[in-house]
Every structure is written in structure tokens, then in C-alpha cells.
Symmetry: C2
Subunit: 244 residues, 2 copies
């Protein structure tokens, strides 16, 4: 009912669709630096390829993305700033849902996916303060600060590690809620200690030892699980990427 701008100029004009596209472009290259193609965008957004073509043109017109025909899509500085603002909203809301409203970690994504477009900058600021300015969400994804600063922990997918490797789970992809529920029932969670034991033969599942020293368990994990679990290695600290 009120036509006034509830949000910063960078956010206020953009539609929810624009916000989602930009956010997905950003998150697609957050943990691995493969540029994202239109068909990947279409898959992640649940729209047809032709819809992506049209919206990418719009993003370019808005100065949020750069794109050459038949090439991957990239964000401009402005686009990245918008993406970071959206990611911040999404992850703060997920954190709120878990910490304040008792949601399970597999229930928060869909709710946040809608709320992120609706809350005001004021809401986000006050929510962040109430939650004591958390720096990662329930799945271990980093929450950008209000000024767009992000600290990306150095981490590798569990499936990429060699036998003998030890570390801690510092991120679990929230792309698949079913996987999150599976991990819950297996009592696998953020910050758990993990050691790679070895592979079952012929490309089979990965055997890992999980849990603290007093109650370690050996568990077989399939390809999808080991790709979703990101591990920070023990030992000397690797350097961290500081995003703008």
C-alpha cells in the first residue's frame, strides 16, 4: 500500500525474479569457480531455458550481469553487490527460523527463498542484531556482512579427499532437503570431526570415521553425500578468500 522505498536503491527497484536470478548466479560459483551457463540457471531456478535467455538480457540491461551469446553468465560489481545482499537476507532468515522458531535445517530453505524478497533492510538489520550477527547459516554457508564482506573458509568436498585425511565438516549443501534429513538421522552435523578411511572398490561409496574421539562411528557415504559435505582440513591453516 505504501509506494515509498523501504530498501536501499540497490535492492528496492529489482523484482523478486531479478533478485533470485542474481543470487543463483552468485551462489553457483561460491564454492567452486565454474562460471554458470544458462541451462544450469534454468535448472536451479526451475524455469525453461528460454525464460533464462529473456531474463539474462534484462539483467544485462540493468547493469547487473555481463553476457555474450552462447556464453556463461557473469555478474557485474553491482550484480554481485545485489547478490550478496540477497544471500545475506536468505541466510539470516534461515538462521532465524532455526534458532528462534525451532525449524529443522531441512525446512528453512523454501521459507527463506520467499521471505528474502519481502523483508525490509530495517528488518534484516534488526534480525542480524537479535541473532548476534551470525557469520554462517545453519548449513555452514557464510553470511555476508551488511557491507558485503564475506569470509569464505577454505574447504574441500569430502569426496575429493584422500584416505587418511582428517578435518571438520564446515559446510553441508542445503540443495537437497532429503539429504539433510538423512544426515540428521545419521547424526551427522556441522563441525563434526571426520576422517577418510577409504573407498569401496569399483567406484563404490566412501568409508569415513565420523564423530568425536569418545564415540567415533564408521559410515559408508554415497557420492551425493560426499559431494555435499565440505571439510576444512586439520593442521596448518590454509588461507581464506576475502570477498568484497
Amino acid at each position: 500500500m505504501s509506494p515509498m522505498s523501504r530498501n536501499s536503491p540497490a535492492l528496492s527497484i529489482k523484482s523478486a525474479s531479478v533478485q533470485d536470478y542474481v543470487k543463483v548466479i552468485y551462489t553457483s560459483t561460491e564454492w567452486q569457480d565454474q562460471r554458470v551457463t544458462p541451462s544450469q540457471l534454468a535448472a536451479r531456478l526451475g524455469v525453461a531455458n528460454s525464460s533464462v535467455t529473456g531474463m539474462v538480457r534484462k539483467l544485462v540491461d540493468l547493469g547487473l550481469a555481463v553476457h555474450q551469446p552462447y556464453q556463461p553468465v557473469e555478474l557485474t560489481g553491482e550484480g554481485k553487490a545485489l547478490a550478496l545482499a540477497m544471500v545475506r537476507r536468505h541466510r539470516l532468515i534461515e538462521t532465524f527460523l532455526v534458532q528462534e522458531l525451532g525449524y529443522a535445517w531441512d525446512e528453512v530453505h523454501d521459507e527463506a527463498e520467499l521471505l528474502e524478497h519481502t523483508v525490509s533492510d530495517t528488518f534484516v538489520d534488526r534480525l542480524s542484531a537479535k541473532l548476534r550477527h551470525p557469520t554462517r547459516d545453519p548449513h555452514g554457508d557464510p553470511i555476508p556482512a551488511a557491507d558485503g564482506t564475506v569470509r569464505m573458509p577454505a574447504a574441500h568436498q569430502l569426496g575429493e579427499l584422500d584416505p587418511g585425511h582428517t578435518g571438520h565438516i564446515i559446510r553441508i549443501s542445503d540443495a537437497n532437503p532429503e539429504l539433510l534429513r538423512f544426515l540428521s538421522t545419521e547424526e551427522i552435523g556441522l563441525d563434526d570431526r571426520v576422517e577418510v578411511i577409504g573407498h569401496r572398490p569399483f567406484g563404490g561409496s566412501l568409508v569415513v570415521r565420523i564423530g568425536s574421539a569418545d564415540r567415533p562411528r564408521e559410515i559408508d557415504l554415497g557420492q551425493e553425500a560426499t559431494a555435499a559435505l565440505w571439510v576444512a582440513s586439520d593442521g596448518p591453516h590454509e588461507n581464506c578468500l576475502l570477498g568484497s
Copy 2:
């Protein structure tokens, strides 16, 4: 991204616009039983009259409203149920913003106006529980229960009362944020005791005594203020309306 129904059938299909129209039709007759006309709807929704014509046809097609050409609009049972669900959402969210995020009572309306369409039934349920199932919002408007039950307090506009009348302010219309800010600076709030002293001559402002016995103040209030303040009379309890 998820196409599943996050909400009850009564809510899930309806667009945010449909939800707003139905809610405004309901709230227009909440404190006074004048049926609402299309032009009143247009004014409250901030759209053109012709837009109302089109949407009212849609509401009728959806079975949410009944309407004869050139007549006021009324809700069906189904429409009222949807309206009550939306009013519940709106007022629970307003209460949350004030109690949990430290919003002032003049800041909550616009935020709630958008969030009400975005939160899930689950969110509403858990929010209500966290807030200890409040029965009225920061402005004194009743919050319908999850089953659609509402308890409307018996009250009259302050401007309608005769000199000598005493009571308590049990509702302050949140239609005008500026008025809410004015009342804040005058330290007039919900549940304040009030006594009508008299009218200034020639249709002037109303003189009232406001506040607790230890610190009563006499204040002049204009027409707009006295129309926004709803007073429950002292003395024998009047009967309350129980809505479905």
C-alpha cells in the same frame, strides 16, 4: 523453487492481491458494519476504481465474494475465512515486529502488509506459539485464533462519547502512521484511562482527561484523533460479539 503447497488449500492458491482485497473487505466492516463500496476499496488498496471492478469479478468467480453491479461488496463464508487467516497473519507479524525486533508501532504496518503473503502456515503457527498466542496486536486489533474465532471487544469511538463518559482505550486505528507518532509523543497509548471532559465550541476539538489517577493530563484532541481512538466504557460489561 518448490512447487509444493506450503499452506492450507484455502490460502495456497490465492494471489497476494486476492488476499489483500479480501482482507480489506473484511477489515472495512470490522469495527463498524457499513458494507464497503468499490471506490472505498480502491482508496484503501491504492488502485484505480476500474481495477477493483476487475478484481471483484475474480473474487466472485473464486467464490470469495458476492456482488451485484453498482452495489457494495460482501464476502462469502469462504471469503471471510480467508480474510480471517490473513488478518491473523498480519497482526501476529505486527506483534512480532514490536515485541521481538523492537519496531515502533507506527513502523509495523507496511512490513506486515508484505510479509503476510509470504510466510507459511507453519511459520504463523510457530510465531503465535513463540509470542504466547497473543489475542490483540500492537494497536489493539483482535488477532483471530487459528480456527477463525475472534473476540471483538465492545467499544465506541472517543469522538462519539458524551462528556463525563469514562473508559479505557482498547484500540487505536493504525491507518495513519503520523497519527500514531503524534499519540506517542503525547504519551497516549493502549489501555490508558480516559474521561471525556467536553467539546470546544463550534465543532472544535474534544477535551479529554487521559492517564492514570496519579498523573492525569487534560488534552485537546482533533476530529481525526478522536475517531481513531476506541474506548471500552467503564462499568457493567457490555456483551461481546463472537465471530466465527
